[in-house]
């Protein structure tokens, strides 16, 4: 069946350092792999996604890497700031008009920043 999971439940990083959050997936049929950020008391917020035919995509201070050979996804945050403290979720989605469009989430990694 489909599953998206995370290697580590918590990650503590020094402010200014780079953060790397990892995720494993099992559904090779997914078209998109996505990262969301959730701050306390709020709904998840889209960060960045990557299509299955890509292996790297960069955004503002974030980079997502996709390794389809080992079914691994990672989110790299450059120069981590206190505002990056949150829970990060990976998710996957298949494209299509109907039932394939569901978005399935992994269990989340809590990122905490040390001053």
């Amino acid at each position: 069946g489909e599953s998206v999971g995370l290697h580590l439940p918590t990650l503590s990083v020094q402010e200014g350092d780079n953060s790397i959050i990892n995720c494993a997936y099992s559904n090779s049929a997914s078209d998109y792999f996505i990262w969301y950020k959730q701050e306390s008391g709020k709904g998840p917020q889209f960060i960045i996604d990557i299509r299955s035919n890509m292996d790297k995509r960069q955004g503002q201070r974030v980079t997502v890497l996709l390794n389809k050979t080992v079914k691994h996804l990672s989110l790299q945050i450059a120069a981590t700031q206190p505002g990056d403290s949150a829970v990060y979720f990976c998710a996957e989605k298949a494209s299509g008009y109907s039932s394939a469009s569901k978005i399935i989430f992994g269990s989340g990694t809590r990122l905490s920043i040390r001053p």
Partner: protein, 113 residues
């Protein structure tokens, strides 16, 4: 919150009673989703909709039903609430084609006593 309103934001209900949560959007997005979030878990998909009157089950659909009679509203009903359905419920919307970005509401905290 990208034009998404969940109501109510908080609710306490008794075991065995029916409960309906509402998600309203002003974005005219085709796809709508209901998730639940529990401590130690990520977001688990309950049901989703890919158009008016088009819905499908997610990962944890038992005990829940949904309806979408118009584009802007997606209702989640707990037929007979149980304590295991105490959770935070999130609605999300997505344009769908050509992308994966979904926008989430603020959540509804439901307590079943």
């Amino acid at each position: 919150d990208a034009g998404i309103t969940q109501s109510p934001r908080h609710k306490v209900t008794e075991t065995g009673t029916p409960v309906t949560l509402r998600c309203h959007q002003t974005e005219n997005h085709r796809y709508m989703y209901w998730y639940r979030q529990d401590p130690g878990h990520g977001l688990r998909l309950i049901h989703y909709s890919y158009g008016v009157k088009d819905t499908d089950k997610g990962e944890v659909s038992d005990g829940y039903s949904v309806s979408r009679s118009k584009t802007e509203d997606f209702l989640l009903t707990l037929e007979s609430a149980t304590s295991s359905q105490t959770s935070v419920y999130f609605c999300a919307i997505s344009f769908g084609q050509g992308g994966s970005e979904a926008f989430f509401g603020q959540g509804t905290r439901l307590t079943v006593v």
